[in-house]
């Protein structure tokens, strides 16, 4: 952790708060990037506990909107990750699940929906499945050593085959683990009659809407209620509008908040 690197944000008059999805969606002063960056600095100064400093640093989805807006481009996401690594314990994750079935492709299924069969039908050959609610160890990403160990276990299970992922978090983790992967979004035809919702680094398409839904790590794990508030804010903005999100994690989060959302898994299953 580098508390001195946080200090520019501590004295900043919250100039990026209007682009932060967590601050805006939750309405919480504590969720402004300024307050979030102040947490680790305050704990280093002995003004709050390490636990509180770490929890502050976890009020973030890692979307990077703050840095994109900042005129002096503070690397907020990276600094917060370092702070969390120093201040918060390593999350306990079960070992990566075993791969089920045969096939050169492995469908990484993030929720209860089973879609490896539908993908096999689409492809015309068998597709294996990996039932993984933890996005290939994404919750460990702040802790390089634990994340690397987890990645090695995933690599061993995958064994050179190609993963098909339905979440941006799993795609990022696969990249970090050095595992070949495709996104399910790239294999299905996005619907033209729905608003394209982009977030978590997914590209914004013309006429689409760029919003972070709040389902990203570490917010979802450490502050689930705040993540729900952010999701509710985006769902409220969408209203009855039908939308499509390329990330199944975002879509699920927003569906729970009442939004009419489809994701690539829905499309695949509906076409199977």
């Amino acid at each position: 952790m580098k508390p001195a690197e946080h200090e520019l944000c501590v004295y900043c008059p919250r100039l990026c708060r209007h682009v932060c999805p967590v601050a805006v969606g939750s309405g919480r002063e504590a969720a402004t990037p300024t307050a979030v960056m102040s947490g680790p600095w305050l704990s280093a100064a002995g003004l709050i506990s390490d636990e509180q400093g770490g929890r502050a640093a976890a009020l973030c989805t890692g979307c990077g909107a703050c840095t994109a807006h900042c005129k002096i481009q503070r690397p907020v996401v990276a600094l917060l990750a370092e702070a969390r690594a120093a201040l918060l314990p390593v999350p306990r994750l079960p070992p990566p699940p075993a791969v089920e079935g045969e096939g050169a492709w492995i469908a990484v299924e993030p929720d209860d929906r089973a879609w490896s069969g539908a993908l096999a039908a689409l492809r015309g050959e068998a597709v294996a499945r990996l039932r993984d609610p933890d996005d290939l160890g994404a919750p460990l990403a702040d802790h390089p050593e634990a994340f690397a160990q987890y990645g090695a276990q995933v690599r061993a299970r995958v064994g050179g085959r190609t993963l098909v992922v339905a979440t941006r978090a799993a795609a990022r983790a696969a990249t970090a683990h050095g595992i070949a992967h495709l996104t399910l979004d790239s294999l299905v035809q996005p619907p033209v009659d729905r608003l394209a919702l982009a977030g978590c680094g997914a590209p914004l398409v013309e006429g689409g809407l760029l919003r972070c839904c709040g389902a990203g790590e570490p917010l979802r794990r450490h502050h689930p209620a705040v993540a729900d508030e952010v999701g509710a804010a985006v769902a409220s903005e969408l209203g009855p509008k039908a939308a499509y999100a390329s990330d199944a994690r975002c879509a699920g989060h927003l569906r729970r908040a009442g939004a009419d959302l489809l994701d690539p898994i829905d499309l695949l299953l509906s076409r199977a």
């Binding site: 001195a4 919250r14 309405g27 002063e29 929890r55 009020l59």
Partner: protein, 684 residues
């Protein structure tokens, strides 16, 4: 705490230390200084996020039952400590009330919830072709409710006015019930908009407002001019404003700010384009990259502020003026043509400085944090006065602040009657040093006849000084507070400290006849409140002056007959008032051109006092005037379609002659052609 009651009512709340800690402070630099020393303001007991007026009302009832103070909180962008933490308080955080409820395109208005951030409001309005024209440098980090509570001003105020000029109505919840002001004032009730503005959470919790909109401009014309001296430049500003041209952007940088802040320098560098850093650039980057060395380098000038300020005086006298007009192509061209002769004393620097300023107009706040990290502190002080007193105010405050800090200034909110001065200063040391600099600055502002705050509000920083401006009107405020908030739970001690002394200072003005005095440079006259308007006009005419716009009935009657929502109309511009209270005590209220030292107590007091004298705008009797040709492409209403407050646009002097010619008017009129004002708000 009976938090289950809140949960049962569906109101989100938190006692998580993360939320409580974040609500301890706003952006008062003194709190940053304390934070650096490991000190923090008190923490509240609970933060709650209402989503409706009803939620706010329920929270106020809850606080009453719990016996807790209440701090309303927007985005905490205030720089005076107005939203600072109060031990054990309930913080009502308005940021979930962030909807644009309605845009009425026919009326050009928007109904907005108070917790909406300024930038989000502009983002929502722009696709509809509208803007609020309120652009404070804090626009990314401040809320609409905060603009009302602390009487905000934006960067285009010279043209569109400050936020209260755009505010048509407001709703607030108080411990004793709802309060509607302006156009929403219930029939037969007193309009309290003037006191809700600037109340800083001390009267009610502002929930939603109705604001006037302006169309997005087709075109901007931006320019920089170099003037040989500050005096020459503010003379040009004064003429621009008194002519009625009212540029959207009008910013003058003093000699130090011209060189240090430097939109002109920055624009020149930008025009040169990217280049390889030279030896000097590389050396400077290397040196400043060493934190300890950077700190030591800053300590040297900060330890000798008086000497450095004197050296800065020798940098030269040349100053930069940024000017900008917006609107339809034809109107912009006409306004520019009329304005250029008034800028003849300056050297045209081209579009670069103006466009550079426009593109970077919200960036200045990024410069603050590095100064705090380097061991210094930085703050700003925005004062205002009439044009005639401006030199003394500038010199007095600059000298006072300069005893303990490095100082520069710019002037960015101009009026026909005067201007504000925005001092930026950097000092070193602890809170004692900081407080000493502020004490001297505030005393100097008052000694020079200026207001202590033009648009930053009061908070805790200026409470005593603001109470000094309110003087003997304070009991009226306190009476109203007791009526709406009997237990005084709302933001205790703000904007006026509970123990503030009630003292009134009445300036020594000759009080003989209908016209007491005339300030020719500021085009203001103190006139008797008891005299007939005709007698005032005749006396003014005998001295070569006329009222800029004449009330259609006796002045006090006119002021008291104003429709709700029209109390603060600047085209009326009843600025200062000398009032006699029922007990015989006299007081003076109102500082020309404008003060944000808490709520505007003039109207509250006027209803309960005798009007001895009032300060009104005047214009030279022989000056040509253009205010006609309604509907013509270059008619006055097209040239300035949103006169502040909705009154009729007028142009005076050579600019009026030029505009009349461009509009095809055979001859400009005289002051006698200017319309009377009727209290319903339209010219007759």
């Amino acid at each position: 705490m009976n938090t289950p009651a809140l949960t049962a009512a569906g109101i989100a709340w938190s006692a998580d230390p993360l939320d409580l800690d974040a609500a301890r402070r706003d952006l008062w630099p003194r709190d940053s200084l304390r934070l650096r020393a490991g000190e923090r303001p008190p923490a509240p007991a609970l933060v709650a996020w209402p989503c409706s007026r009803a939620d706010v009302a329920l929270l106020l009832r809850w606080a009453e039952e719990e016996g807790r103070p209440v701090v309303p909180y927007g985005a905490g962008s205030g720089v005076c400590g107005g939203a600072q933490g109060v031990e054990g308080a309930l913080v009502i955080d308005l940021k979930r009330m962030r909807r644009l409820l309605q845009v009425d395109a026919a009326a050009g208005t928007a109904h907005v919830e108070a917790g909406m951030l300024g930038q989000h409001l502009e983002d929502a309005l722009a696709p509809l072709g509208w803007k609020t024209a309120h652009s404070p440098s804090s626009i990314h980090c401040s809320t609409v409710g905060g603009y009302v509570a602390a009487r905000s001003a934006g960067q285009f105020s010279s043209r569109f006015g400050v936020f209260e000029d755009m505010l048509l109505a407001a709703h607030a919840e108080t411990p004793t019930g709802p309060m509607d002001t302006g156009l929403w004032t219930p029939q037969g009730s007193e309009d309290l908009q003037a006191v809700l503005l600037g109340s800083e959470g001390g009267l009610g919790v502002i929930t939603d407002v109705l604001v006037k909109l302006a169309p997005l401009p087709h075109r901007w014309w931006l320019r920089g001019f170099a003037f040989p001296s500050l005096e020459a430049a503010w003379s040009a500003m004064r003429q621009l404003m008194q002519s009625g041209l009212w540029p959207s952007a009008l910013r003058l940088y003093d000699p130090v700010d011209t060189r240090v802040g430097g939109p002109a320098n920055a624009a020149r560098k930008a025009a040169r384009g990217p280049s390889e850093p030279g030896v000097w650039d590389r050396l400077r980057t290397a040196v400043l990259g060493i934190p300890g060395l950077r700190r030591r380098l800053l300590e040297i000038p900060l330890s000798l502020p008086g000497f450095v300020n004197r050296m800065a005086n020798r940098l030269g006298d040349e100053v930069l003026l940024i000017i900008g007009f917006e609107g339809e192509d034809a109107t912009v061209e006409a306004l520019v043509e009329a304005a250029l002769p008034l800028l003849a004393a300056g050297r045209d620097l081209g579009a670069g400085p103006g466009e550079h300023w426009f593109a970077h107009r919200h960036d200045v706040s990024y410069k603050l944090a590095p100064l705090f990290i380097a061991g210094a502190w930085a703050d700003t002080m925005e004062v205002a006065t009439t044009w005639s007193r401006l030199p003394a105010l500038y010199a007095g405050v600059r000298a006072a602040l300069g005893e303990g800090a490095l100082v520069m200034a710019h002037l960015s909110h101009a009026y026909p009657e005067g201007c504000s001065i925005y001092f930026s200063f950097v000092g070193s040391g602890d809170t004692a040093a900081y407080d000493a600099v502020w004490r001297k600055g505030l005393a100097a502002a008052r000694a020079a006849g200026g207001t202590v705050t033009h648009h930053h509000g009061v908070g805790q920083l200026k409470g005593a000084a603001a109470a000094g401006e309110a003087g003997a009107a304070l009991p009226f405020w306190r009476g109203l507070q007791r009526q709406l908030d009997p237990q005084l739970r709302l933001n205790p001690g703000r904007p006026f400290p509970a123990d503030a002394a009630v003292r009134s200072e009445v300036p020594p003005i000759s009080s003989a006849g209908p016209v007491w005095s005339i300030d020719a440079e500021s085009q203001l006259a103190w006139v008797s409140g008891a005299a007939a308007v005709t007698a005032i006009a005749a006396e003014l005419a005998a001295q070569g002056w006329a009222l800029r716009q004449r009330p259609d009935r006796p002045i006090r009657e006119f002021l008291l007959a104003l429709r709700p929502g029209a109390l603060l109309r600047p085209e009326l511009a009843a600025l200062g008032m000398i009032l006699r209270l029922p007990g015989g005590e006299r007081l003076r209220l109102g500082h020309a051109p404008r003060s944000a030292a808490g709520p505007d107590l003039r109207w509250l007091t006027l209803r309960r006092a005798e009007l001895e004298a009032v300060e009104l705008p005047v214009i030279p009797l022989g000056a040509p005037v253009f205010s006609g040709l309604d509907g013509g492409e270059l008619g006055a209403e097209r040239l300035r379609p949103l006169a502040r407050g909705g009154g009729r646009a007028w142009f005076v002097g050579p600019a009026a002659e030029r505009l009349a010619t461009l509009a095809g008017d055979p001859r400009p009129g005289s002051v006698l052609d200017l319309p009377c004002l009727d209290p319903r708000g339209s010219a007759s």
